[in-house]
């Protein structure tokens, strides 16, 4: 018998509010996910683009600052030479990225506060849409498939549901697990980049010029977290084997995007233009079918949130994401209820 064995005693402790029981589910999910070396490696890799983007903010602010110094006493507008040089440079280097037209248009105005706000938004949108979106694809692919499938396989759901936990709380706790990782590799670095950009800027007046950007980052995070987590958990709930859910996750992304790329290829051949030519990308067929790719739909939503697409341009993606999320949540709820 252990020296400190006191036998069975009544519990005197006060219990926590029932509003936060899901936190226990989330905490244990994060704890278990962090045991994977691959998750740690992906997390580390996810932060590498931050240095590249931080350099981008530095270069941009340096260019603006130099311009402000040379133009002292003549207002804060960029002179035409710098404006044209920047516009040309962006056109040459980044023409395939979305939102470049808006950026060029703002650069031509020469209004520094507006240029700063647009350029920062554009850089952060690209940060969300490209390096971080691909990282999320792998990160969620490693974490989410086992979250519910293992509970079904080991019948651990009885451990949860014999406690004062509702199915909604269970689902919420589980959804929070991939969400936390997504926040750690997108929102947190994006907010860090914003802070870096503020520190690189000449004075505190940049804060009121760019106050909307942290809000956009947070809203974009929600736009990213909810559909991806819902789809990943739905796939996890459909099987007892997490590897099948894992495979399905990559198939959902790959198949949708592959189908869209085929449409792009066919259109470019038909029009006799190179692949990803702006004319091909803006063609009616390619735009109409863009929403079949989950990746494009998320990108479209982010473009809308960061202010580079109007609702009329991005409604297909938004409606598609809304539909996918609603469908996934319904299936998820049904599957979580069915083991009973």
């Amino acid at each position: 018998m252990p020296i400190n064995d006191v036998g069975y005693r009544s519990l005197k402790s006060r219990t926590e509010s029932s509003l936060f029981r899901w936190l226990a589910i989330c905490r244990i999910g994060v704890q278990l996910a962090l045991k994977s070396k691959w998750v740690k490696r992906i997390m580390l890799a996810a932060w590498l683009p931050v240095t590249y983007w931080a350099a981008g903010f530095f270069v941009f602010e340096k260019a603006i600052f130099a311009e402000q110094i040379s133009g002292m006493g003549q207002g804060v507008d960029l002179n035409q030479v710098t404006s044209l040089a920047l516009t040309e440079s962006i056109t040459n280097r980044f023409s395939i990225f979305p939102g470049v037209d808006d950026l060029q248009e703002v650069l031509r105005t020469g209004d520094i506060p507006q240029i700063r706000n647009t350029a920062w938004r554009w850089m952060l949108m690209i940060f969300f849409r490209y390096p971080q979106a691909i990282t999320i694809l792998f990160l969620v692919g490693f974490i989410a498939p086992s979250l519910i499938s293992q509970d079904i396989r080991s019948r651990a759901f009885l451990l949860y549901f014999s406690r004062p936990i509702s199915r909604i709380e269970y689902i919420f706790g589980k959804i929070c697990v991939p969400s936390i990782f997504i926040i750690l590799v997108t929102t947190l670095p994006a907010l860090c980049l914003y802070v870096v950009a503020i520190l690189m800027s000449p004075d505190i007046s940049t804060l009121p010029q760019t106050w909307d950007i942290p809000m956009r980052i947070i809203i974009a995070t929600f736009g990213l977290v909810i559909p991806t987590s819902a789809v990943a958990l739905m796939l996890s709930s459909l099987t007892q084997e997490s590897r099948f859910a894992n495979f399905s996750w990559f198939v959902v992304w790959g198949l949708g995007h592959g189908a869209w790329l085929t449409i792009v290829l066919a259109t470019s051949l038909q029009m006799g233009l190179p692949l990803f030519d702006p004319q091909v990308m803006q063609s009616e067929v390619v735009s109409n079918w863009s929403a079949i790719s989950l990746y494009n739909s998320l990108g479209s939503l982010q473009s809308y949130i960061f202010g580079f697409e109007t609702f009329a341009e991005s409604w297909r993606g938004i409606v598609s994401l809304f539909g996918i999320t609603a469908f996934s949540m319904t299936i998820l709820y049904q599957r979580v209820s069915s083991p009973m």
Binding site: K35, R155, F161, S162, P164
Partner: protein, 312 residues
């Protein structure tokens, strides 16, 4: 008797299958054994008590709460040990018990302290730090039991608690259950197929068959035989003793363990036994009132219900 579980005309149907068929049941404090053949509706009844499945018709209250509407309050007050080998892969034993405590609302640090306390009570030593995935069946049973009691519930539902345990572990677990009931005032509902477990610790027995309650009696009542009878062991030749008893119109049956069971409606049976021993020239080593075996009661109840031709 205060009823902790009160079911009135409860039915539960799954499409065309009727798992519970008009159950009326009152269960009071103490340890109650829930018996029944496979498919009798035990698991459905337990899930219904936990508020996980809703009854199709009828009214049910558990610990004073309505099963239909107040499942959460019920689950706050009960501890459930499932029959299934359920565990969260990747957690150590102590983390698994701590997690169960957290799910019941115990703060994280307090839950860890409590988990250690309960694992000490369950006699889990250093193996509590090993991954649950590597545990033997017996150790998993201990973890499930510890998880069921970590939040100090007032009512315990144990589904096959001793399956997979060796005789020594089984005896120890039954002692723990008995201790919780007698010293800590917990009420327990044990669903099991192991009748000696019920015989050893239960106060009341409920037998379910084909979705109906076939029997709900205190164990002491079930043990009582239809007419006065005794189980006797003698030091010398038991055959002479049996012949002497039969001459006195006493019904005698020999048992495999070398004892005889004697029964007679006569109120003078003890006197007759002593006279027969004197006549046969044997010394009585032990004379104890005979009991019905639970196995006999169970089999006769289940067979009777099957004989009525009722189906699920």
């Amino acid at each position: 008797m205060t009823s902790l579980i009160s079911l009135k005309q409860i039915t539960k149907s799954f499409k065309s299958v009727r798992a519970l068929n008009g159950i009326d049941l009152e269960v009071g404090p103490g340890i109650t054994g829930l018996l029944g053949p496979n498919g009798a509706g035990k698991s459905t009844l337990i899930k219904m008590l936990l508020g996980l499945v809703q009854p199709t018709t009828g009214t049910a209250s558990f610990l004073g709460f309505d099963v239909r509407k107040e499942g959460r309050q019920i689950r706050n007050r009960i501890g459930y040990m499932p029959e299934d080998d359920c565990y969260i892969s990747g957690l150590s034993g102590v983390s698994a018990v701590q997690f169960s405590g957290c799910l019941s609302g115990i703060p994280k640090v307090e839950s860890l302290r409590r988990a250690h306390e309960i694992l000490d009570f369950c006699d889990m030593k250093q193996e509590r730090y090993r991954m649950v995935d590597t545990y033997s069946t017996g150790m998993r049973q201990k973890i499930k039991f510890a998880s069921a009691i970590v939040h100090d519930p007032e009512f315990l539902i144990l589904d096959e608690p001793t399956s997979g345990l060796d005789p020594e572990e089984r005896e120890t677990l039954l002692k723990r259950i008995r201790l919780l009931a007698s010293q800590m005032g917990k009420s327990v509902l044990i669903s099991t197929h192991i009748l000696p477990d019920v015989q050893a610790i239960c106060d009341d027995v409920v037998i379910l068959s084909h979705g109906k309650v076939r029997l709900c009696e205190p164990l002491a009542t079930l043990n009582r035989t239809a007419e006065p009878s005794f189980c006797i062991r003698v030091l010398e030749n038991i055959d002479h003793f049996a012949q002497a008893l039969e001459k006195n119109d006493v019904e005698v049956s020999k048992n495999p363990d070398g004892t005889v069971t004697v029964a007679s409606p006569s109120p003078k049976l003890p006197e007759t036994i002593w006279n027969a021993a004197h006549q046969a020239g044997v010394s009585i080593q032990s004379l104890i009132p005979a009991r019905n075996s639970l196995e006999e009661v169970f089999l006769s109840t289940v067979t009777d219900s099957a004989g009525t031709g009722e189906k699920d």
